[in-house]
């Protein structure tokens, strides 16, 4: 496009036309998905394959007195009935978690949550396996269940983890960060202290494809191949090598197409271990496909965190300090998927976008008789809670000092000239234009006009509200100094091979679950080499054929694997330059690059294309040069990337029913350079939809007996197009100063920052009633109750059934 304006006759290719940065090229994955030609684990069928089904505990907490499998063995077609006792003979009744705890694979002593794996059956078909599961007789001795942290801490509470030596209570971990003394001193100087208590309810990533595996142990070669729906196949290979004590070079993990992950498919689950063990024991391929209830009731959930917070303020709206205590409900096993050093993820990234001098966070995790996990559901390790807490505290504080919520943010946001900015909890934010984003959002929503409209409506008894959420978040772990999982540093990788005709294959250690890596990672190569995106195929998800990578979660693929891709492409370009010099018969120093082409400085018309260089790499390389055109790169990021977002919602609350509707939703996202704007917008809209679900309708809770409410899609609600509001998207671009192409993570911003915008809007509508907080989801009955009584609905564990 710009080429036409240049006086010199540049022959650079039009980057957008060839599918480079900024091109909204259609997703290449979709061709097979919309034609029904995707290949998921369920589609994998191997000769002689058997089927596995898991028997789950109906009780939340009970001692296992006996397990009688004789009737199950008698069902025709049953090949194996596996219990914890049998797994224990192989030292596989328990396995380590990613948070240095242990988790039962199959229960031996007790069951510790409803839905826990107790036994499994392998049979000729899945119907028989299910029949035989139903025939297993387990005798339980019920124990009192614990369904929230308060009960876990109560004196005389039953000890859930009596399997762990030295574990005398139900505390899974304690952690703190920040400057306690400095924070206390700042609070002593405060004009106003704003407090807030709330509960971020348990939610579930609920990918449309449940977990599943086909384990195929070949007893002739000793090789184990596992088709597995995973976000991190290379970590799984390492974990399987460690857990199952199999040699790592004899393990191949293949993640075919993955039907959504959202953090749910990072961990190793008991079902995978069982499928592998069953394949070893039967010497047959064993397929296990989890059902919806299994997925919702036993695999990694998100959130379930309580906040007890204080903010110290001056009367004119300057934040002096923040401090809070966070309590997490971990379920029966501490199995968070998170960088090992951090016990409550990156919750201390809260307040990173505000100029807050000092802060202090304490945290404690509790064992309860609930499903284990605590995965980062579409977030960079607990930052969803961090940013929700932050933005709810911001709104409460603005109300407490009687200041307009936009003005309060304006007075405290980090200014453009303060970067890089050290946050009170030690992060270094890289860049941003926070005040600009806020203003774009306010202008888009028509902030001042809405306030007038709101005041008019109130006179007629109508409750309108406006809510703002501004936040930055740390995306793209590591660097390797601070971030590792089980000791493995959080870098990522790419391998690029350019074929003789200039077509290329890129192999990455990341793993798409719908993000469109096959589309966007090709665009990065196109940007660096000028090879049209259509000529590049992206491969991932097979540990035998892709480089080691830490996988895709926490919005780390573009920041880390994307950077590795840019770096490997630059290595290729460096070699191609030598080939170009050879072909052009000039010194390398005299060769210049423009997109898709090298040319001779001062004689622009003399040039060779990248494709000609590629052919030369195989057919006409200079003497002494190694043939071929391929390379790899391992990228260890110097810092996380810090996107910024401003989300603003307007709502109307029906005072008679408590039902609230979103009137408008404006999103301003600054995720740095956008590789494929269409995919970025899709990620934002998807995240805002999940944010809406969390704020409006979605939660998992447990009744007093430890029964899970929300173990199926009748009770656990996913929003549909019918109720999801429309979104108005805007952008600001601040390139990341340390990322090779200036990109930042974006996949999770909207799910992280979105919920507070909706909740703040409803709270703003209810402000005349004096209500300060309603816990999510803002169900109509909670809103009605709060509006009618003026009481908060806060922090109470929401277990209510009759």
């Amino acid at each position: 496009m710009t080429a036409t304006a240049e006086p010199a006759a540049s022959q650079a290719l039009d980057e957008v036309k060839i599918g480079g940065l900024g091109s909204s090229r259609p997703r290449v994955e979709d061709a097979r998905f919309i034609r029904g030609r995707g290949n998921y684990v369920e589609d994998v069928t191997l000769p002689g394959m058997l089927h596995m089904e898991i028997l789950r505990s109906p009780l939340a907490h009970a001692r296992i007195k006996s397990i009688d499998t004789s009737a199950a063995w008698a069902v025709p077609g049953v090949k194996l009935v596996l219990t914890g006792e049998m797994a224990a003979q192989r030292n596989l009744a328990w396995m380590p978690t990613l948070s240095y705890d242990t988790q039962a694979v199959l229960a031996t002593d007790k069951v510790r949550f409803q839905g826990q794996e107790v036994a499994c059956v392998v049979a000729e078909d899945p119907y028989i396996a299910k029949d035989a599961c139903d025939a297993i007789v387990v005798e339980y001795e019920p124990l009192p269940p614990i369904v929230n942290p308060e009960q876990a801490l109560a004196p005389g509470a039953p000890l859930i983890r009596d399997d762990k030596a030295g574990q005398a209570d139900n505390v899974a971990y304690s952690w703190e960060v920040g400057d306690k003394a400095g924070t206390d001193a700042a609070f002593a100087r405060a004009d106003v202290v704003s407090t807030l208590r709330l509960h971020y309810p348990r939610s579930h990533p609920s990918p449309i494809e449940n977990c599943g595996a086909v384990a195929d142990f070949n007893n002739a070669t000793g090789k184990l191949t596992v088709y597995l729906t995973s976000q991190a196949p290379h970590i799984v290979r390492a974990a399987v090598a460690l857990i199952a004590e199999l040699p790592e070079h004899m393990i191949r993990i293949i993640s075919p197409d993955v039907g959504g992950g959202f953090g749910n498919k990072v961990p190793v689950y008991p079902g995978y271990v069982c499928a592998i063990l069953c394949s070893i024991l039967t010497a047959k391929p064993v397929k296990w496909i989890e059902d919806n209830t299994g997925n919702l009731s036993s695999t990694g959930f998100g959130r379930d965190m309580y906040l007890d917070s204080e903010m110290a303020l001056t009367r004119d709206g300057k934040i002096l300090a923040v401090r809070y205590h966070a309590t997490t409900d971990q379920g029966a096993f501490y199995a968070d998927a998170q960088p090992t050093k951090f016990k409550i993820g990156l919750v201390h990234s809260s307040f990173a976008c505000y100029d807050v001098p000092v802060g202090h966070i304490t945290a404690q995790g509790m064992y309860t008789n609930k499903a284990p996990g605590g995965v980062a559901y579409r977030c960079s390790f607990r930052v969803t809670e961090a940013m929700f807490f932050q933005e709810r505290m911001m709104q409460a504080a603005a109300d407490d000092i009687g200041m307009d919520q936009a003005e309060f943010r304006r007075r405290n946001l980090v200014r453009d000239d303060q970067f890089p900015y050290r946050t009170p909890f030690g992060f270094l934010t890289d860049s941003g234009q926070y005040l600009t984003c806020l203003q774009v959002g306010l202008d888009a929503i028509g902030y001042d006009d809405f306030l007038v409209e709101q005041a008019e409506a109130r006179k007629q008894g109508r409750l309108l509200g406006i809510g703002i959420s501004t936040m930055t978040e740390p995306l793209g772990a590591g660097n390797s100094r601070e971030y590792d999982i089980l000791g493995i540093k959080m870098f990522d990788s790419a391998e690029l091979r350019v074929h003789p005709t200039g077509k290329a294959v890129l192999k990455i250690g990341a793993q798409t679950q719908g993000q469109g890596h096959e589309t966007t990672f090709a665009q990065i190569v196109t940007h660096e080499l000028g090879i049209p995106a259509l000529d590049i195929v992206v491969e991932h998800g097979d540990t035998d054929h892709t480089p080691f990578g830490m996988g895709t979660y926490a919005s780390r693929s573009t920041p880390v694997a994307g950077a590795a891709t840019a770096m490997v492409a630059r290595k290729i370009r460096a070699k191609a330059r030598k080939l170009a010099a050879h072909l052009l018969e000039v010194l390398e120093e005299d060769v210049e690059w423009e997109l898709g082409r090298f040319f001779v400085r001062g004689a622009e018309s003399r040039g060779v294309t990248i494709q000609e260089c590629a052919m030369a790499a195989y057919s006409n390389m200079p003497d002494g040069m190694e043939p071929g055109l391929e390379n790899n790169a391992y990228y260890d990021p110097p810092n996380l990337t810090w996107p910024f977002a401003c989300y603003i919602a307007t709502v109307e609350v029906d005072p008679e029913t408590g039902v609230w509707d979103v009137l408008r939703f404006v999103a301003v996202d600054d995720c740095g350079v956008r590789i494929n704007p269409m995919i970025v917008e899709g990620q934002i809209m998807g995240g805002l939809t999940e944010a809406y679900a969390m704020s409006n309708m979605q939660f998992q809770t447990y009744d007093t007996d430890g029964n899970l409410v929300g173990a199926n899609y009748m009770d656990y609600l996913l929003p549909t197009a019918w109720e999801t509001p429309g979104f108005e998207l805007h952008e600001v671009v601040t390139p990341s100063p340390h990322h090779p192409i200036g990109a930042k993570g974006v996949g999770e911003c909207a799910a992280v920052g979105g919920p507070a915008a909706y909740v703040n809007a409803v709270m703003n509508a209810l402000r005349p009633t004096g209500v300060r907080n309603i816990d999510m989801p803002l169900l109509p009955d909670r809103v009605w109750h709060a509006a009618h009584t003026g009481d908060d609905v806060s922090g109470a564990p929401p277990f209510r059934t009759e």
Binding site: E53, P126, Y127, A129, K130, D131, D134, D291, N292, T293, E656, T657, G658, V659, N696, M697, F699, T701, V709, G710, N712, M714, D715, L717, L718, P719, T720, W722, E723, L779, P780, D781, W784, H785, P798, R800, T801, E802
Partner: protein, 291 residues
């Protein structure tokens, strides 16, 4: 999601279907839309030995007016047929209001009104609508044919009055005693969610005076609830505000909701009263404006 073993039969005639029921007794279950039965089978909450699929039967897909403002709805008439019906608007306002609120669009393309009545889920929308309208279910067996008022047809949670050898072939709405009005309101957290509470109101009026009224409640008790006293209050009235308030209170009083994750019992009762008031106030408004 693997159901228990079952036998599948697809009879071509009603007589064949009836013979299968007679043969298999309580082992057999009729499959029409399957929108409740099939999920229950997948969860193994239901495990019928024989599934008798009646989708191949002729002459059950109808819905048509009968003289005097009545209605017949065949056992294979889908929710979507009623949603897009040209017959219902004007003639059957309560049914027309409910049709687009049943479940979600996917379920509506397969599910049937008669199947919904037979399922007898207290969350079912059509049972409330038909109860408010004073409707009935026509059941057929080898022994003959009988008509069962909806109030007697739904006998409890997931329990209907059919004998094992009977098929519900039709639902009927009787002729009206005046001009029909009314509506259906439902509070749900999401399209396709079970109702937090639902209210059906069916009125028949001569001039501005109500001559017959029916009110029924969805999802606020162990079965669909007829708010008979509330409805009776309206008869002979012109829906003046004090009458409307009394009806709303009486309807809320007969609701028997439970506190659960959809809301507290108090809240559900409040929603019932609010919905009764909203429907009746809206019905009165045009008449008031004309006067």
């Amino acid at each position: 999601m693997y159901p228990s073993r079952f036998r599948y039969e697809a009879p071509r005639t009603l007589d064949e279907a009836l013979a299968l029921l007679a043969e298999h007794g309580d082992e057999a279950k009729i499959l029409a839309g399957g929108q409740s039965l099939v999920p229950m089978m997948k969860l193994r909450f239901a495990a019928p030995g024989v599934l008798v699929d009646i989708n191949g039967l002729e002459g059950l897909g109808h819905h048509e007016e009968t003289p005097g403002g009545g209605m017949r709805v065949g056992a294979l008439c889908r929710h979507v047929d009623l949603e897009h019906s040209t017959v219902l608007p004007g003639a059957q306002p309560t049914m027309a209001a409910a049709a687009p609120l049943v479940a979600d669009p996917i379920v509506r393309t397969r599910g049937t009104l008669v199947g919904s009545l037979c399922h007898a889920d207290p969350q079912g929308d059509w049972a409330s609508v038909m109860l408010a309208l004073g409707g009935s279910v026509v059941a057929t067996s080898a022994r003959g044919r009988r008509t069962i008022p909806v109030g007697e047809f739904v006998v409890g949670t997931f329990q209907n009055a059919l004998e094992y050898d009977e098929i519900a072939v039709e639902a009927v709405v009787p002729a009206a005693q005046g001009a029909r009005s009314g509506s259906y309101l439902k509070l749900e957290r999401r399209v396709g969610d079970f109702a937090t509470a639902g209210v059906a109101v069916a009125l028949e009026s001569v001039g501005e005076e109500v001559v017959r009224a029916g009110i029924a409640l969805t999802g606020v008790g162990p079965a669909t609830i007829a708010a008979t006293e509330a409805a009776q209050t309206l008869v002979g009235s012109r829906l003046d505000p004090d009458v409307v308030d009394r009806a709303a209170d009486l309807a809320a009083a007969v609701a028997r909701p439970r506190t659960d994750h959809r809301g507290t019992a108090d809240y559900k009762r409040h929603v019932v009263a609010t919905f009764v008031r909203r429907i009746l106030t809206a019905e009165r408004a045009p008449a008031g404006a004309a006067a």
